[in-house]
Symmetry: C2
Subunit: 392 residues, 2 copies
């Protein structure tokens, strides 16, 4: 039996294991110390009332013969696809319901959508970035090259100078881990580049709900031409805390054609063959997010995290430390003080202050000397962390 040799090329997820190990060692030698964990990208507030109420109703639906739902449509229930469609309308984007595919989360669809394309196409990924893009492409055997995101370009690299044909180009904006967010013009450059080179843009919009500066795009489809060359992958995880509920969506415009084939139709065919849809209860919960009361409640939560991000960024500003993010993102990404390496600063920050963050180098070589703090912690913890930053 021959194995998929690509699986062996996956790097073991060293980052979070190593963090856990060092935190454990610290706990053992400092049993009385209170740890402040700003290392996670996981939501920490409970689901909002409207979502909870609707999910209870959905569970009740499953308890009665008349309302029981078995296999649903693999592309998702129309009620939810229509809700997503209306959400895009608030961004000035017209979509049809059947351009929207409900998924069990962004992570899954990052790999699923890739099955549309041949393994021969080269991949372009920013460095540093969320590791799932690289992993999904390694498993399918694609060659990956990197776009350097550095302090010089404020972690927002432009498309490459060279016109390389037929690339799969990843953009994550607002970015994980740097929080940096592309503007209209910068994204237009990518769309133009993709159209010129017969490439496809995979736009990860998982953090779109954190975009708070009105002039910044929160969807690639706000850019003219994008419907011909971009797929947008999004999720209810960061807007509404669905990390444990599992629901997301992927937009594949009907205008996209490659080699004469309609990509939307091809994906529909793949879904019919490979998927039986997302949990009815999760879909009902997701639908509730986009109701009036749902949006009011999730906005309050988002504001809570935004305030945390602001507290952290103001401390960095006062200390004159270079950072990106915070304004349109739950993440604050800053240069390690004293020219420390990422892991060196991790140890220093943990041992001196009891604060856990994420070493930037864990997201790619250009993350070296940088550090990520998350605003998903509690207000008090975040304020304590800010005080510690001021003591640096």
């Amino acid at each position: 039996m021959r194995l998929n040799e690509n699986l062996n090329r996956l790097s073991k997820s060293y980052l979070f294991t190593e963090i856990a190990k060092r935190v454990e060692e610290y706990r053992i030698s400092n049993p009385d110390s209170v740890l402040i964990n700003l290392g996670v990208g996981d939501y920490t507030l409970p689901l909002c009332d409207t979502v909870i109420k609707e999910m209870h109703k959905a569970v009740d639906d499953q308890s009665k013969k008349e309302t029981f739902r078995g296999y649903g449509p693999e592309e998702g229930y129309l009620f939810l696809r229509n809700s997503v469609k209306n959400y895009y309308k608030t961004k000035g984007i017209d979509l049809e319901a059947d351009e929207i595919f409900i998924s069990d989360g962004a992570n899954s669809d990052i790999g699923n959508v890739l099955e549309l394309f041949s393994s021969d196409n080269p991949v372009l990924v920013p460095d540093p970035v969320y590791p799932a893009y690289v992993d999904a492409n390694i498993i399918q055997g694609r060659k990956i090259s990197y776009l350097d995101a550095t302090i010089e370009n404020e972690f927002l690299p432009d498309p490459p100078g060279e016109k390389i044909p037929s690339q799969i180009i990843y953009i994550c904006s607002p970015n994980n881990p740097t929080g940096a967010t592309y503007d209209q013009k910068q994204l237009q450059n990518f769309v133009d580049y993709a159209l010129e080179t017969d490439s496809v843009i995979m736009f990860d919009a998982a953090y779109e709900a954190f975009v708070s500066e009105e002039y910044l795009p929160s969807s690639i489809f706000q850019i003219p031409g994008a419907k011909k060359c971009a797929i947008e992958i999004c999720s209810f995880s960061k807007i509404a805390g669905f990390t444990g509920v599992r629901c997301g969506y992927t937009v594949i415009p009907k205008k996209m054609t490659y080699e004469g084939f309609n990509i939307n139709m091809l994906y529909k065919r793949r879904l019919a063959a490979r998927f039986n849809g997302v949990s009815y209860i999760s879909q009902v919960g997701a639908g509730a997010v986009f109701t009036k009361s749902g949006m009011t409640q999730v906005s309050e939560n988002l504001d809570y995290f935004r305030k945390n991000a602001k507290v952290l960024s103001e401390a960095l500003k006062k200390k004159g430390i270079f950072f990106t993010g915070a304004k349109n993102s739950p993440y604050v990404w800053f240069r390690c003080p004293y020219e420390m390496k990422s892991w060196e600063f991790f140890d220093f920050f943990l041992k001196k202050f009891g604060i856990v963050g994420t070493p930037g180098v864990g997201f790619g070589k250009n993350g070296e000397n940088f550090f990520r703090l998350s605003s998903f912690g509690g207000t008090e913890e975040t304020q304590l962390a800010a005080q510690r930053i001021l003591q640096l």
Copy 2:
């Protein structure tokens, strides 16, 4: 941009679309007729009380900060993996919890698990069979050959005479669509064949809960040697009606090695890179299935469907029509009377009696002249259908 050309080789899911079309035409020309639908493989009873109660609790967990669950382990919560482990113990099978991977359903994992193996390995699939095996392999570009399941072998073909190396061999027992169920000796032949040829068995146990004759195996791991060469894919859909809740599990024994690699470890690595786990609420519901009250309640539902299957099979017996299934399966698979072709009988049965079934040829060429009825309908409907069969 080069596409994955394999997607174009997927046959459009003609079967159920064509059924829907013909049923619609019938409805229009017979507006007053009451349709009896025994064409579906979808569960129709509501979820049992214990599952509903626990899912409400899980929703409540998500409403409070102290009990909120964000990202869970990608391989599934330990509480559920332990429940599955204990369920296998009742079948006399010892598993470790980390040999069990919680999935969002059998259909998804049929394709996911395939990523372990190179696209060069040939695939062996029975004909007729559930179409998902073929589709998932076509997308990944594998060459497929077929094992003929026919009336001569009572739809339970043996391994091929020729020893072909490194095959991915599918077995579905109890079978969809034929309901035929392998015995110990027949499965031992497959295990021996797989061990001899360095092949892997993909054992689809989705209908295991319907096995009611005690001497028949309901898991491939009841066969000596299987832990070295078999992966078992299962689901809560047919045991407990989770077709809309979405939860399943896949067993990959730690004893399986190919090319010197531990397959269980490799799959763990794939999951970490590609998946964020199944909905917490679905997992809690699934855990409730395996409690004492859960098992009592789902058994009552299974008995309800079994009774339906018996009603259908007894009518066929009385008419002297050859059939398989019914005893250990929700499906009854019979030879079309009057030597009719599958679609011919579909039209006849629909127009004469208002009953919808599934034409056997939709599951493969050897399904021609056969027809599938499902026991997932209501008791009255099923009795009416049985009366009609007696009128044939």
